[in-house]
């Protein structure tokens, strides 16, 4: 019997996750690019409006596929276990899960106010709807990496893992998860993620054409559909032009790395929150770092309901920032 064609969107456990293979020629090209950048760092950066040209990702299939992995668990009234979904930034997983949760009448938990998390007084506690299935929409937004800033998340882990909180689905960014595994080092079962999209999967969702281009896109994005979409310019999908990656600033200091890492671990931060998690960097230096990184298109800001904007690592900047943090020995995510 012929094997069923592989689906583009597949939900798998974290142990089954596979990153697309990186062809040797791409590795060599990357070394060469890094070497030439050392010799003559480019000061100019072609800033592109990624929202204008980037391919729009359609998550309908991914949401449908969620039914096949979670519907039995959702409908089993005797099963009070938890499901964890971990995914790298810009993968679209958090949005897909939220849509699915809305479709299935799963109630979304209220996130704590991060601006008040570090106050010495007792912080608010997590409130679970114990009679109903609940969704934690983003665990990365429940803590600040600062003394006092982890109490809400610790309480969440204690209650959720004890079984007292009832049945729930928890979404967490992969960088925050890598950090939280050190905060609450209890291995959890039922850890799910979106399978890395290889060249065939990328072709199915219409991100590029041509075998070489697809492989290069899969390798660059590490199977992350959001990153692949950001590099799959809708007007250059057939082109053989090399991907134009944003460049790191010419002078990178410890503070640059700390800002990038903090933004990834917290899945975005406001300027005020950033100052709270990095008190060792002066406020003016933080502003300088943010402005430089923004000029290089490595970070961007998003308006929020509060008066402060949320700084985050851009989808196009993510591969560059990840390599930069890896070269500096930072604790990385598993994706």
């Amino acid at each position: 019997m012929a094997e069923a064609p592989k689906k583009a969107w597949q939900w798998v456990t974290v142990n089954e996750f596979e990153r697309p293979a990186v062809p040797t020629v791409i590795t060599v090209k990357k070394w060469w690019q890094n070497f030439t950048h050392w010799l003559s760092p480019e000061s100019e950066n072609d800033e592109q409006d990624e929202h204008e040209n980037a391919f729009e990702l359609k998550l309908d299939e991914a949401i449908k596929e969620l039914d096949s992995v979670f519907s039995d668990w959702l409908n089993d009234k005797d099963d009070n276990s938890l499901r964890w979904v971990i995914a790298p930034p810009h993968s679209g997983v958090a949005e897909a899960i939220q849509h699915w949760a809305q479709q299935n009448n799963v109630s979304t938990m209220k996130l704590p106010d991060r601006d008040t998390l570090c106050q010495p007084s007792d912080p608010p506690s997590p409130k679970f709807t114990k009679t109903k299935v609940w969704l934690m929409p983003q665990l990365a937004h429940t803590f600040l990496r600062q003394t006092n800033g982890l109490r809400w998340t610790r309480e969440f882990f204690a209650e959720a893992l004890s079984g007292e909180a009832g049945k729930g689905l928890i979404v967490c960014d992969s960088w925050a998860w890598a950090f939280l595994e050190k905060v609450w080092p209890v291995p959890v079962s039922e850890l799910w993620t979106l399978q890395g999209l290889d060249d065939q999967a990328l072709e199915k969702i219409g991100l590029a054409r041509g075998e070489g281009r697809l492989r290069a896109l899969a390798a660059l994005s590490r199977g992350n559909p959001g990153i692949a979409a950001a590099y799959s310019d809708r007007y250059h999908r057939n082109s053989d032009k090399a991907f134009e990656l944003p460049q790191l600033p010419q002078v990178v200091e410890d503070a640059t790395a700390f800002v990038c890492y903090a933004l990834l671990v917290h899945y975005g931060l406001t300027s005020r929150q950033l100052a709270q998690v990095l008190p060792i960097v002066s406020a003016s230096q933080l502003q300088i770092e943010l402005q430089i990184l923004q000029q290089q298109s490595l970070i961007s800001k998003q308006d929020t309901a509060s008066k402060d904007s949320l700084w985050y690592i851009t989808a196009r900047g993510y591969p560059v920032v990840r390599d930069f943090l890896a070269s500096r020995g930072f604790w990385l995510d598993k994706f």
């Binding site: 010495p120 600062q146 008190p279 060792i280």
Partner: protein, 272 residues
């Protein structure tokens, strides 16, 4: 008789023609050039790297230098003397006598330098303490090792120290270097509460290497309790900023918990 022994000594050496001299000069020039190039190029490459990659790249400098110099020597010796056993014994014996009297310490340092490259008690990028001086090894020369302290002072330590001094190596060729921040509190403070608070302080430091353990130890002293918060920074070069960060935030956290710090009056301090 005397004339014959002079003849014997002269027989050890080859007669050097212009071509041989030119050959020796070229070998020396190439060897010196290569050593110079490795000493410039490799640290430059290493300056663009971090962590393990930087340390392993820096460790190549003294190794390559010794390989180049030994190769140069192997090429020059047959050009100057007849490489028979008798001639080698005679030349080495005479050289050993001269060295023993005149250049003992200098040569001892050179030999210790070779031993240091083999045994690796220190490598470029290591943080070592010798004779009370603590700093990063930035260069391993033929005779000395060059340290740069946290105050940006350069110290040249002869390899000779290797024979009879204790060498304290804080990271031993790797990126892991334990840092310790110390806190002194009054004896009545709750030790477990302080331990938990200090562990949190280390865990939330941006300098922390998350893959390494954090530990807090407490020891009773005549004036109170001494706590030592031990953790590893991402890069050994961040050790002083890391300790500063842990100290500043640790003090703030302990003050929030109303922990009273131990203070020793000047008179008592003198007694202690």
């Amino acid at each position: 008789m005397e004339t014959e022994s002079v003849k014997n000594v002269a027989g050890i050496f080859k007669s050097l023609d212009t071509f041989a001299i030119l050959e020796i000069v070229i070998i020396i020039a190439v060897a010196v050039g290569l050593v110079w190039l490795t000493q410039k190029l490799i640290p430059w490459v290493a300056s663009h790297l971090h962590g393990k990659q930087r340390l392993y790249t820096l460790a190549l400098v003294p190794m390559l230098r010794i390989v180049i110099l030994v190769l140069a020597l192997v090429m020059i010796v047959p050009l100057v003397i007849e490489p028979t056993l008798q001639n080698m014994v005679a030349v080495l014996g005479a050289a050993g006598l001269a060295i023993g009297f005149a250049l003992k310490d200098y040569v001892s340092s050179l030999i210790a330098g070779i031993v240091a490259i083999h045994e690796m008690p220190y490598r470029p990028g290591d943080w070592i303490e010798v004779d009370g001086s603590y700093g990063e090894v930035v260069h391993i020369g033929m005779r000395t090792v060059e340290l740069v302290t946290n105050d940006d002072t350069v110290i040249w330590v002869p390899h000779l120290k290797l024979w009879d001094n204790l060498i304290h190596n804080a990271n031993n060729g790797g990126p892991s270097l334990m840092c310790i921040a110390e806190f002194y509190t009054r004896p009545e403070a709750d030790a477990y509460q302080i331990r938990d608070a200090l562990e949190e302080v280390a865990l939330t430091s941006p300098y922390l290497q998350l893959g390494k353990p954090i530990a807090v130890t407490a020891a009773e002293q005549p004036w109170g309790t001494k706590y030592r918060l031990k953790a590893y920074p991402i890069d050994p070069r961040q050790q002083f900023q890391f300790v500063t960060d842990m100290t500043a935030r640790g003090k703030r956290r302990l003050l929030e918990l109303n922990v009273k710090f131990a203070k020793v009056e000047s008179g008592e301090a003198l007694e202690i």
